[in-house]
């Protein structure tokens, strides 16, 4: 079974719930989702940090959660109770990677219950400006925007 045979609407729904649940629980933010990802292009021009994880097995995919550096500091500050100015770069990278770990863990458990066989990699993070993720398969891709006040995040899932 591959990503095509998984109900995309269902996967979308699982991811959506996972992101909202993880961010809300860990930060207390009131998160709203928006299926329109058209703002992502202009978002790429600012300094961005992306938490990434790969999933293998019944689905081979990359899951990425991107936000700008200032938003990521705010997110990690609310997760830890540490002031944004006191956070190290390592804290911010680790926090974004851990958020992806939590949301992929949640979705993996949901899919394993459905009978899929999945393994996940350790999470990691990438930061920089004008980061462009290009996947060969442009058809099987999910992108969603999440907003919590001034904090804007983009979730991207692509079949590999």
């Amino acid at each position: 079974m591959d990503m095509v045979s998984v109900d995309m609407k269902k996967l979308n729904g699982l991811l959506n719930r996972a992101v909202i649940d993880v961010i809300t629980t860990m930060t207390g933010f009131d998160v709203e989702d928006d299926p329109d990802c058209s703002q992502f292009a202009e978002f790429e021009s600012v300094e961005t940090i992306i938490g990434v994880m790969a999933v293998f097995g019944s689905i081979d995919a990359v899951v990425a959660l991107a936000t700008d550096i200032n938003s990521s500091k705010l997110i990690v500050a609310y997760m830890t109770g540490i002031m944004p100015t006191d956070l190290t770069d390592e804290d911010v990278h680790d926090g974004m990677a851990e958020l992806v770990n939590m949301l992929v863990g949640r979705v993996k458990a949901d899919l394993v219950r459905e009978g899929l066989d999945l393994s996940i990699t350790s999470p990691f993070s990438i930061s920089g400006t004008n980061i462009e993720m290009v996947f060969k398969d442009r058809e099987n891709r999910i992108c969603r925007r999440f907003i919590a006040g001034d904090v804007e995040m983009f979730l991207s899932v692509a079949k590999i």
């Binding site: 997760m79 680790d94 926090g95 990677a97 770990n101 863990g105 949640r106 394993v112």
Partner: protein, 123 residues
């Protein structure tokens, strides 16, 4: 007494530290199972509880739980698995192996504190 957190995520260790320090316990951090077992060798008598991540590079949390529960000096220490793996089978496996509790990430500080107190018999 001390509470040990074993997690490859520095952020999770910081979150746990902030919850544990409020309870007036000293925190001992380890970033992987090897470091944790080295610390336990010297400090096992002072450790009141181990909070153990499941997915870690090298030896995973479940393997470490098995070692702890087979060791005559360590087996009495309560272990709470802290993990993003929400699968029911894993929870059963951990409890059957001797874990006292199982906390699924994401968690709130209130949830974490409640579970720690339960593990310590103060819930």
């Amino acid at each position: 007494m001390k509470i040990m957190t074993v997690d490859d995520s520095a952020i999770v260790r910081k979150i746990i530290r902030s919850a544990v320090e409020v309870l007036d316990y000293e925190v001992v951090e380890a970033k992987d199972a090897k470091e944790a077992l080295d610390i336990l060798e010297d400090e096992y008598e002072d450790i009141a509880l181990i909070l153990l991540d499941w997915n870690m590079p090298g030896m995973d949390g479940f393997e470490m739980l098995e070692l702890i529960k087979k060791d005559k000096h360590l087996r009495h220490i309560p272990v709470m698995m802290v993990t993003s793996e929400t699968g029911g089978e894993n929870i059963i496996k951990a409890i059957q192996t001797g874990a006292t509790h199982y906390l699924v990430k994401p968690f709130t500080i209130e949830e974490l504190t409640k579970r720690i107190l339960e593990c310590l018999g103060r819930g």
